[in-house]
Amino acid sequence: MSMHDESGGATQILAGLLQARTGQVISSGRYWRVETSLKPVLAEYCIPDIDTLVAALLGADNDDLVQSCVEAMLNNESYFFRDTAMFTMIRTQVMPVLQKARADSRRLRIWCAGCSTGQEAYSLAMQFADDRQKWAGWDIEIVGTDISNSVLERARSGRYNQFEIQRGLSVARMLRYFRQDGEDWEINSDIRAMVKFRTDNITRPSGNMGQFDLILCRNVLLYFAPETRHMAFSRLARSLGSDGYLMLGAAETVIGQTTSFNACREIRGVYTLQDATRTDRPVLDTNWPFAQES
């Protein structure tokens, strides 16, 4: 019997721990990822293998170890301007509608749910900064949330290594919005000030951060079991303004998942609240004169 087979039960327990704490599901076909992702935890706590790790987790006073394991198993992959077509759509189709709808208050609230190390939230902030003149005098609040404290610490720092800074970010934006500090690149303070990060679990009903005009919850729900996904959709629905927009990942949909949202007829891949009437919505202007991506 191989080591992998011997540890099969331990892997299952660890995957169950992740699901219980975060809602994220690791399918049995991806159990190999559990052991790989926990290697740094084993090294940090001087634990020889995952069977011993599970035994330690079942002991008392192990909150730090549990938290370390959960954070290590979370899928935190993120990069700047992931899915460029979506960012272009936000800039050229979604924002013109919201800018018109909020012309009186001149206030916009955007929630990046499951923001990981902050690239998505900062990408939005950079996009607004690119269009600085169009948004002059506006109060734009971008809130990034994640269940993992360690990724939020990294997000708040605004520091990215060479691999992270290059993924999806143009050299023009890198030079405009970052400064080099040794091997790392650190985001400028004005961009950092546009984004607030906080710990949150979108599957918990208790979270209340007010209502948002746009919610991005991309490549988060696909890791959830159906019942957890349903809870997350309920939370997202409660957090979205009546004429706001929800955006999911390219491989995600609301169809068959929730009755809270409708696919937006005008913008593909964007969702609106089910009970928002069409007459509440301003007409989309698809010829908005924003500049092309720089």
């Binding site: 990069y79 460029t84 060479q162 691999f163 290059q166 993924r167 999806g168 970010l169 143009s170 050299v171 023009a172 890198m174 030079l175 080099q180």
Partner: protein
Amino acid sequence: MKTCLVVDDSKVIRKVARHILETLDFNVEEAADGREALDHCSNQLPDVVLLDWNMPVMSGMDFLTALRRSENGEKPKVVFCTTENGLGHIQAAIDAGADEYVMKPFDRETLESKLQIVGAA
């Protein structure tokens, strides 16, 4: 199918870049220095040039300057791909007409995203 000219004096880097670019549906040409690359370009301009900085015979910067001065030399997208990772080098490359900049070492995702940014992938 778009053509990418990989200019690097390292055979290994050219091989790695070729492998990645072919999976991204590029037709790949190779040159071992800036002079060879200029000869390639005088015969046929590629859509993209993936360009090392330090090479014998002619450096990447000298190649880029000569390319941009040549007839239709503004057309190819030029992506520097180099171990010169300092801000000064990056700014100098952009000022000389480079469209993008990849700091070595690089992986498939980085190269693909940079090629998407310049509209080549």
